[in-house]
Amino acid sequence: MRLILTALYKLSGIVAALCILSITGLVFAQVCLNLVDKIAAAVTGQAIGLTIPSYSDFTGFLLAASTFLGLAYTLREGGHIRVTLVTGLLRNKTRHRIDAVVLAVALAMVAYTAVYMGLLVAESHTYGDRTSGMISLPLWAVQLPVAVGLVVLTIALLDELICNLMGLPASYEGKGENLLNE
């Protein structure tokens, strides 16, 4: 079970990272085309007008997918910022209990958000909404990763809560809080 869960978080984290890689590739390709265009305009006096259709829309969709699919992985890496100033002063046992409450609140909120994001995706599917732009995709398909990411985060929070109640330390405890916080 532990192995499956870890694999799930890692997989969705890797997909998130691949989205960033794709953004870089896509945008850089467009910059290269712009350059070719500029050179062509200088040589022949006429721009060809090379553009990747809807590239800025795609970039946005990839960013959304990356953000939400990365949530669970980031949680476990201790990447999400929280204020530890107050709780840091408490005794370990008290802090562990407060963490349980915090996790329960987080779980309820994220689960709620995930449900409504799921409903939004379903609605887009029912009405057959499509994205605007030159290349039009079904809206539900680009919204789906956001909902999936929230579901994975829900699972990760449930996982943390159960571990907490069993008396285990949190996966994000003592990880990378110094350099990333800004």
Partner: protein, 431 residues
């Protein structure tokens, strides 16, 4: 329930949630949810889902992971080491000597990293051992690092300016360009202070024996070339108007990859680590932004920001009084929250107030960033202080005391940009 009671309840709720250790993004989301439940009949879940989707897929925000990734790649390359050896020959004759390496090193690294904690960590890891070995006073080593590392927030490409730009719908390219002169202003204030201090305290500084001829200086400076080329390429393409910040960020990533590949520090492992690190940081920031965007929408439903703006408007405060009050407020907030949270909270509640008294939102962005920089070096929560604490093993109050002169210099810089707003607006107006 009156608006006042409600605002107080929400404010207290926010502090309880943050204090209990609930993640910042979720705290913002929770306050937004409570505000909507208490104060409007709008369908909560639906508004939330559409807001999150609407703000999550943003072309402008796509610059964020790319600039973070660029910083991660350079962080893992030999860049900082090169910078020290390249800069040192130029500084050895100036009063204050190699202390200036901290300032210029941070200034340059800030231009490629966009994050002040990363700047403090990278430059500090390199310069602290080097400078203490040569006998520089610890107080000044720590102080110059703490102060100048905050430049990472202001000197473009700056992650916090991207966040501000996206949240307030300002042009990110204009914000970047607006940050250049204030950044240089801060650098010159820091350098001036170290020179004066150096002249007054000649005895406590070591004598730099090595003299370099111009030829040697230039020869050593060749190691600065790649990074200067990178900065010129990224900022130049934005300034010349041929690339949007997102485009420029992608170019920066590719150049950084080429640079670290040619210097031999790019391995499969460092590539994967850098990419995953960039994903984690950008996910954290984008999630906070999603929470803040929902809070902004929820606040709109409650009408609190509008009433607050009207209230401030009716008091007939002068712009200066308002700015002074906001500075104090931000520095206090910054004692407990990180820079990005401060900025996103600002945009949800304070922006209407600021617009009401007729402050230019572009100028205000730079103002906020400088105040946030100041809050990075104020105890008890100042991320630069934490980084330097872990690098030097000194306690946070010692580090904070060393940083105090630089805090005051930033206050001077604030006063200057209030008195002469053109320092901020001149470049963007002439873009």
């Amino acid at each position: 329930m009156s608006v006042l009671t409600l605002s107080i309840i929400l404010f207290v709720l926010l502090f309880i949630l943050l204090g209990s250790g609930l993640w910042v993004a979720l705290s913002l989301l929770a306050v937004g949810m409570s505000a909507m439940m208490l104060f409007s009949d709008a369908p909560l879940g639906l508004v939330m889902a559409t807001t999150i989707w609407g703000h999550g897929n943003s072309w402008a925000l796509a610059a964020l992971p790319l600039f973070i990734w660029m910083g991660e790649i350079l962080f893992r390359s030999r860049l900082s080491e090169d910078m020290f050896t390249g800069l040192a020959p130029w500084m050895s004759r100036l009063p204050g000597q190699l202390l200036h390496v901290n300032i210029f090193g941070c200034g340059i690294f800030a231009a490629v990293s966009g994050s002040s904690a990363a700047t403090a960590a990278t430059i500090g890891k390199l310069s602290i051992p080097e400078l203490s070995k040569r006998g520089y006073p610890e107080k000044m080593v720590i102080g110059t690092l703490a102060g100048s590392a905050t430049l990472g927030l202001l000197i473009p490409p700056s992650i916090i300016l991207i966040v501000y730009g996206v949240a307030t719908e300002q042009s990110i390219a204009r914000l970047f360009v607006a940050g250049i002169l204030p950044g240089l202003l801060l650098v010159s204030l820091f350098v001036g202070y170290v020179i004066i201090w150096g002249v007054m305290n000649r005895d406590s500084l070591p004598v730099e024996g090595a003299r370099y001829s111009l030829r040697e200086k230039l020869y050593h400076s060749r190691r600065l070339l790649p990074v200067i080329g990178l900065i010129a390429g990224v900022i130049g393409s934005i300034y010349a108007g041929i690339a949007s910040p997102t485009d420029a960020a992608a170019v920066g990533v590719v150049l950084a990859l080429v640079m670290s590949w040619s210097s031999g520090s790019l391995t499969r492992q460092s590539f994967v680590e850098g990419l995953m690190g960039a994903m984690v940081t950008s996910c954290m920031i984008a999630f906070i932004l999603a929470g803040a965007s929902f809070l902004t929408v929820a606040m709109g439903f409650t009408g609190i920001p509008r009433l607050l703006a009207e209230w401030i408007g009716s008091m007939g405060l002068s712009t200066y009084t308002l700015l002074a009050a906001l500075t104090v407020f931000f520095v206090i907030m910054g004692c407990f929250l990180d820079g990005i949270s401060v900025v996103v909270l600002t945009t949800s509640v304070i922006m209407p107030m600021v617009l009401k008294v007729g402050i230019d939102p572009l100028w205000f962005g730079i103002f906020v960033v400088i105040v946030v920089e100041m809050s990075q070096i104020t105890p008890p929560v100042g991320f630069n202080l934490f980084v330097l604490q872990s690098l030097t093993g000194r306690n946070i109050l010692t580090v904070a005391r060393a940083a105090l002169p630089f805090f005051l210099l930033m206050l001077v810089a604030l006063a200057i940009i209030v008195a002469v707003p053109e320092i901020v607006t001149f470049l963007p107006d002439n873009m």
